[in-house]
């Protein structure tokens, strides 16, 4: 039998497990300030986290470099599904369409229902991602939502319980993630981003996210808040903490912790990869 035919046969019969391939580099595709450059990204080959412009990054990676991407939660959809009788793959297909990249992860059983994390990248997001990448034909082996990567980073430092909120303060925006742990797996319940008028909008969004977690996912209300910020954050960490406390005031006692870290997503992605 000729090798190409053998290869085709192999492709048909053998499913390649992407988890057996480790990325060479993790890149956070959310823009990061770097001099006068608009398109600059934080990345790491597993050790130190660096920031380079798109052009500089192109010189550091090759076509064969296996990329791991950390994407904003509006680029990669990360949903928590509870399924009873249906096939989760059918549910995912009907939710995201045939041209999207969809993957399903079974988290555990919840009563009579099965809990899944369904992550998806649609074709529109794909075009944006490919335009951001400095390679014409990139080799991507891992796509993680920023909420998951940041959660992994926080979990390596702090103990999380029940439903928790993360406020990732970045130079251009504040990302909000409400997450929970199901059978040891981080699930993102909802996410949002605040870019301007942070102080007012922030409280509204947090209230809504808490409400969503309780009503929609039937989880506990938010009991823990982690504010991850740096000196370059769009809003000082103390102000974010105050806004959060104010938004969640009057219910149960909420603990608010501040972590100083400029690159929690890339670090969290590598922590997850090495775990």
């Amino acid at each position: 039998m000729k090798l190409p035919k053998l290869f085709e046969l192999f492709e048909q019969t053998e499913e390649i497990d992407l988890w057996s391939i480790k990325p060479d580099i993790y890149i956070d595709l959310r823009p990061f300030p770097y001099g006068m450059t608009e398109q600059a990204y934080a990345y790491s080959f597993g050790e130190e986290v660096l920031v380079s412009s798109r052009e500089e990054l192109a010189s550091k990676i090759e076509d064969r470099t296996k990329l791991g991407l950390v994407l904003a939660n509006n680029m990669v959809s990360s949903k928590f599904f509870l399924v009873s009788d249906q096939d989760v793959h059918e549910v995912a297909r009907s939710s995201f369409g045939a041209d999207a990249a969809v993957d399903v992860f079974y988290a555990g059983d919840m009563g009579l229902e099965r809990a899944y994390v369904v992550n998806a990248v649609d074709s529109a997001s794909r075009r944006i991602i490919e335009s951001q990448l400095p390679l014409s034909e990139p080799t991507v082996v891992r796509v993680l939502p920023a909420s998951f990567a940041v959660s992994c980073f926080i979990r390596s430092l702090k103990e999380t319980e029940g439903t928790y909120l993360i406020a990732e303060c970045r130079p251009y925006e504040i990302y909000l993630y409400s997450c929970a742990i199901v059978e040891g797996t981080v699930v993102t319940l909802s996410s949002d981003v605040v870019k301007s008028g942070a102080s007012d909008v922030l409280q509204e969004k947090i209230v809504f996210m808490n409400h969503k977690a309780v009503r929609f996912y039937r989880t506990d209300s938010i009991l823990q808040v982690f504010v991850v910020a740096d000196d370059n954050s769009v809003m000082p960490a103390d102000d974010v903490s105050k806004a959060v406390s104010s938004a969640l005031k009057g219910k149960v006692k909420v603990s608010v912790e501040t972590l100083k870290e400029p690159f929690p997503s890339v670090k969290g992605a590598w922590l997850f990869e090495k775990s």
Binding site: A100, D103, V141, G162, A180, R218
Partner: protein, 225 residues
């Protein structure tokens, strides 16, 4: 509305039939086919190489096992054949030995059944003791027959008697090797001694002997007149 505490699920976790068992999978990883194509081809290539190498090794092992089986089977077959041949050879030699013994016993029986005036062992003693120099016997035979063949004429000439007029007791034929060099005098001496000895037992004898170097042949006809 029912509230569920997520953190409490670890204790109540149970796997249902039909639930997807994810062994290696760590999380949902949505990657487009085109994105992962190069990596997948690389790992598939590696897997194919390992598959081909594995198959080759297995085939090689199978071929080695087959050849080893052939070799061992051949070896054991040959060894078995040799062993059987040895046993057969041993059986044949034993059977031959027994056959010889049986034939000798038959001969002895035949000799024992002969009712002779002079017993056979006495006749043999006469023959073996008639040489002054002694000899080694290659072969010796005795036959009760009246047919003396080519010796008939010489018998008549030397004894002056026709074979029909005498009773031939038997014919001895001897072949042997003298212990030392000899000439016709040994032959004459041997004839005289044999005839003299037989006459002591009341029978007569005619001896025809020839000598070639140290090898001799003799035919002794024992008869009664």
């Amino acid at each position: 509305m029912r509230k569920v505490n997520f953190s409490g699920f670890t204790k109540r976790f149970r796997k249902q039939k039909g639930a997807v068992v994810q062994r290696k999978k760590k999380y949902a990883n949505p990657v487009f086919e085109e994105w992962k194509k190069a990596a997948v081809e690389e790992i598939a290539g590696r897997k194919i190489v390992s598959l081909v190498v594995g198959r080759c090794i297995v085939s090689l092992v199978v071929v080695c096992v087959v050849f080893a089986s052939f070799f061992l089977t051949g070896h054991y077959r040959k060894a078995g054949e040799e062993s059987i041949s040895q046993v057969l050879s041993l059986c044949n030699s034993t059977l031959n030995e027994y056959g010889n013994i049986v034939r000798e016993i038959e001969t002895y029986e035949k000799y024992a059944n002969m009712r002779l005036k002079v017993p056979l062992y006495v006749q043999l003693s006469i023959l073996t003791s008639s040489s002054k120099t002694g000899f080694f016997i290659d072969s010796v035979s005795f036959e009760q027959t009246s047919d003396i063949g080519s010796l008939r004429e010489s018998f008549v000439v030397e004894t002056g008697k026709n074979t029909d007029s005498v009773k031939i007791v038997g014919v001895w034929k001897l072949k042997g090797l003298l212990t030392g060099e000899a000439d016709n005098r040994w032959v004459i001496s041997f004839k005289d001694t044999v005839e003299g000895m037989f006459s002591l037992f009341g029978v007569r004898s005619y001896v025809s002997a020839s000598l070639k170097g140290r090898d001799f042949e003799a035919t002794v006809i024992v008869y009664e007149s």
